[in-house]
Subunit: 196 residues, 2 copies
DNA sequence: GTCTGTCTACCTTCTAGTAGGCAGATCGTC
DNA sequence: GACGATCTGCCTACTAGAAGGTAGACAGAC
């Protein structure tokens, strides 16, 4: 039935969780086999090599992100609100410990030692997020929904860096609330001044 | 002679470089032995276990940081200048590829899967940087060298997150110049307005 | 004579990956 | 509808190499 492809989804999901906590070299097929409940060799049936597995995982992670972003753009017209929803997504993930870190953030920090196929996919993810945030900044700047002090693409990079830096700090201190402490003033700064 | 302790320094230095590119699980004693030119077993003489090695490495990394910060505070009176020197330190490291990433940033992102002794040491490093930056922000706010829009400790966390987020972005895109592109407006925002 | 740093040789466990078998579903063909 | 053929997903059993770590010997310095 449809649970044929379910197993490979389970494999990807457990790999995502494992990478999220320890990176590319921090998990093995044996770890996945324990979580999913099948033998190591069966994982090789779905993903012949570890590179195949992680490449596919990152590719889907980006595609899911692209789908979510498309839905967000349709449902939320205001640029500032979009940034708030994006920040809030991570606030929740970090605070309820469901997905307390971005898989691509961890892989990006390991980038120089990653297999090239995986590295390329990770870079693609960051390029996608960056160019999306740039279009949000441009739009918000033009229609007055955002108050920018630098060029849109610079603001986009700065915002992205703040999000990912805050994510790291929350993990480093073991204090989830640090994330929103850092994001709040960043979003404030982008809010148009009502007295104007 | 004095090259007795030199070997253990070489071990620590090569471990630092290896961790900087691939994290805790991204290097082995065999890797170090190749770089330093001694056998695996000889490394165990200096650092009985991998945990000992990395714990010591992070401890010294923090101590070196504390010494550098102390010297910086003595030589540079102005708080804004201190932040600029700090940012500039990383700009150089990233651009000349000498130390293009912070060892503790990489270890912090792997924190949940790290041996507890190492994890503690990494958290200590971030606590040190954070509390140092807070004192800089406080001082600069009081004597007018800095223009803060939030509480000093919030500005400190925000600045730290920007630095580490920018470091990640530079690595993710493979573009060192991204770091200073992000840091420039962050420092601008902290610069007191001359027209006041 | 002991202490330090290195060596060779070895051990155990884990790693990704392979070979080959087996049960069940799906298939075209008679 | 019965027949074998193929495909899918999983299994056991295995491999070669790398992992962290140990035992014990040896050379030179103090």
């Amino acid at each position: 039935m449809s649970n044929l492809s379910n197993t490979s989804d389970e494999i990807l999901a457990s790999a995502r969780n494992l990478i999220m906590s320890g990176g590319y070299n921090g998990f093995s097929y044996a770890d996945i086999s324990e979580v999913v409940g099948i033998r190591k060799a069966s994982i090789h049936h779905h993903f012949p090599s570890k590179v195949d597995l992680v490449r596919e995982l990152v590719k889907r992670y980006r595609e899911d992100g692209q789908a979510n972003v498309a839905a967000l753009e349709q449902n939320v017209p205001n640029a500032l609100d979009i940034l708030k929803v994006y920040a809030n997504h991570w606030t929740k993930c970090i605070e309820d410990a469901s997905r307390p870190y971005c898989v691509c953030a961890l892989l990006a920090s390991e980038l120089p030692s990653l297999p090239p196929e995986v590295a390329t996919e990770v870079t693609n993810f960051f390029r996608f997020i960056s160019s999306w945030l740039t279009t949000v900044m441009e739009r918000g700047s033009k229609n007055g929904a955002l108050n920018l002090t630098s060029e849109p693409h610079v603001e986009a990079e700065a915002f992205l860096a703040t999000v990912y830096g805050a994510m790291l700090s929350a993990r480093a201190y073991g204090k989830p609330e640090v994330f929103s402490t850092i994001l709040a003033p960043a979003l404030n700064r982008l809010t148009p001044n009502v007295s104007h």
